[in-house]
């Protein structure tokens, strides 16, 4: 009978228990070591195969709510892209993105005087699939200017854009969520994928093939941000929260076990 009582725990106890468990490693870091998965290694390797001067389109969702999940990935990726000499196009796909991109690029240590030469940021517009297709087919039929309202044809301010017209000018797409399949279907460009765990991981599986593509590697939120930081060597926020993640999952297992024990108790009680 005692076991059966386990099934009637007030949810608030579970919430409080979990919150305390999460707080402990945030206050006193334990330092549980981390391993880097193959998908993350492939992500870094693929980016590193391109020569300096290659053009990468980064589809930046930058939803402010998701930042704890993805900010480490964004920062480490931009550091890596700029260190490898990529020319980077930044497509803002979320309403918060214009605000977030500034924070992220600052954290990545970007030289803003190189805007227009090394990187270009497009303005934010709400984009459905059809809009993505238009954008890849002809950038100028979708955007007239960049996010600071400078015309895309202005050679003084945006020299980078003078060589880029459509998807044939991209060498690599760093894409997120469902856009990935879109770029694959319409353009067949090489893709590495980044994004929140839930917005990326369920979609990426079918397209992921480190040898033939179209997705050569991916980093999907959660703990993988920390893995990317280790793989690239740019250590940041991602690695700090790993302890809390480990302890949280152990607690989850304990909660599930308690739930099952209570079911066992109820069955025993039923027999009596």
């Amino acid at each position: 009978m005692a076991l059966a009582k386990l099934g009637k725990i007030d949810y608030r106890f579970i919430y409080a228990f979990m919150t305390i468990i999460t707080f402990i490693p945030l206050i006193y870091p334990i330092g549980i070591p981390t391993t880097v998965g193959d998908n993350v290694k492939n992500y870094v390797n693929k980016i590193e195969t391109y020569p300096a001067g290659s053009v990468a389109l980064t589809s930046f969702s930058g939803y402010i709510t998701m930042l704890p999940d993805v900010e480490p990935i964004y920062v480490a990726t931009y550091k890596l892209l700029f260190a490898r000499g990529f020319k980077v196009l930044i497509l803002l796909t979320d309403v918060d993105a214009p605000i977030v991109i500034t924070q992220v690029l600052n954290k990545a240590g970007v030289d803003w005087s190189k805007e227009g030469i090394d990187f270009v940021i497009f303005p934010y517009m709400s984009m459905d699939e059809a809009a993505h297709v238009v954008f890849t087919d002809n950038i100028r039929s979708y955007f007239i200017n960049d996010w600071k309202l400078r015309s895309l044809d202005n050679a003084t301010n945006l020299p980078l854009m003078q060589e880029i017209y459509d998807y044939t000018d991209f060498d690599l797409v760093v894409g997120s969520t469902g856009h990935v399949s879109r770029y694959n279907v319409w353009c067949g460009i090489d893709i590495v994928a980044w994004g929140t765990g839930t917005g990326l991981l369920p979609f990426v599986g079918p397209f992921y093939d480190p040898i033939n593509g179209p997705i050569y590697g991916y980093v999907g939120g959660a703990s993988q941000g920390g893995e990317l930081e280790i793989a690239t060597g740019y250590l940041g926020d991602g690695i700090k929260t790993n302890d809390a993640k480990n302890l949280g999952i152990i607690t989850l297992c304990i909660i599930i076990i308690i739930g099952n024990l209570s079911m066992l108790g109820e069955k025993e009680g039923g027999k009596e």
Binding site: I9, Y11, I14, Y15, M18, T19, I32, P33, T34, T35, G37, I64, T65, M66, L67, P68, P98, I99, T102, M125, S126, M127, D128, A130, A131, V133, V134, D137, N138, S141, Y142, L149, G205, P206, A222, S223, G226, E227, N242, K245, N246, G248, I249, I250, L252, C253, I255, I256, I258, G259, N260, M263
Partner: protein, 224 residues
């Protein structure tokens, strides 16, 4: 009556089909005209949805005002809530105008003061709301993830094993967790997912067929 039905019901249905068919044709025929048609419509989607967004604002305030009227007798709380909503909205509008750059006609929504309010109130709170999902998943796992029968057991095992595979510490101390998790992902997940995807495609395409043949009338108003 007949002409009324035609204008209210049939003409919109025809418009749907007329808009869609050139897009389908564009898939199989390479033609500049068709392509231009598709790319023009593609950029229109963004414009239409941006313009229509104002409706949301109207429904928001209308809905909240209605709720205030319904809950008038419940003391000061409903008034306070409505006040917070209106006050904050005005604050943001005010700031966007105050910090606007009128030479380029850009509203001040990227100004650092605006961003300060945005990040402080919206950023923290929306993250906390999403974070609640984790705690709610805990209570739901406690309630639902049990070895009740074979199906529930499979759900539980796939879920737990893959969760552990995603957790750094388990990968380190139980290296077999990674390949096992991947196996379940490749076999169990893909097996079910493929079937679900195919059927979902069929279901959606069926709705599409009915719509284009003029039989799906859910979206058109006849009587109102």
């Amino acid at each position: 009556m007949a002409s009324r039905n035609f204008i209210r019901r049939d003409l919109p249905l025809i418009l749907v089909a007329l808009t869609a068919f050139p897009i389908l044709l564009n898939r199989f025929v390479t033609d500049d005209l068709l392509k231009n048609y598709w790319t023009t419509l593609g950029s229109w989607t963004s414009y239409i949805s941006m313009i229509a967004w104002g409706l949301g604002v109207i429904y928001l305030f209308n809905g909240e005002y209605h709720a205030l009227q319904m809950n008038k007798d419940k003391g000061i709380v409903p008034y306070l809530m409505f006040g917070i909503l209106v006050g904050f909205s005005l604050l943001l509008v005010g700031m966007s105008i105050l910090y606007a750059d009128w030479t380029t006609m850009q509203l001040g929504i990227r100004h650092e003061s605006y961003v300060w309010w945005y990040n402080g109130f919206y950023g923290a709170q929306s993250q906390a709301f999403y974070g609640l999902m984790f705690l709610y998943l805990m209570s739901a796992s406690y309630r639902m993830l049990r070895f009740r029968n074979l199906e529930a057991s499979i759900l539980l095992l796939s879920g737990v094993i893959y969760t552990l595979r995603n957790t750094p510490i388990f990968n380190l101390y139980f290296p077999w967790m990674m390949p096992l998790g991947e196996w379940i992902n490749n076999i169990g997940y893909t097996g079910g997912y493929n079937a679900a995807l195919i059927c979902m495609a069929f279901g959606s395409l069926l709705v599409g067929c009915r719509q284009l043949l003029g039989r799906e009338r859910t979206a058109v108003e006849v009587t109102a």
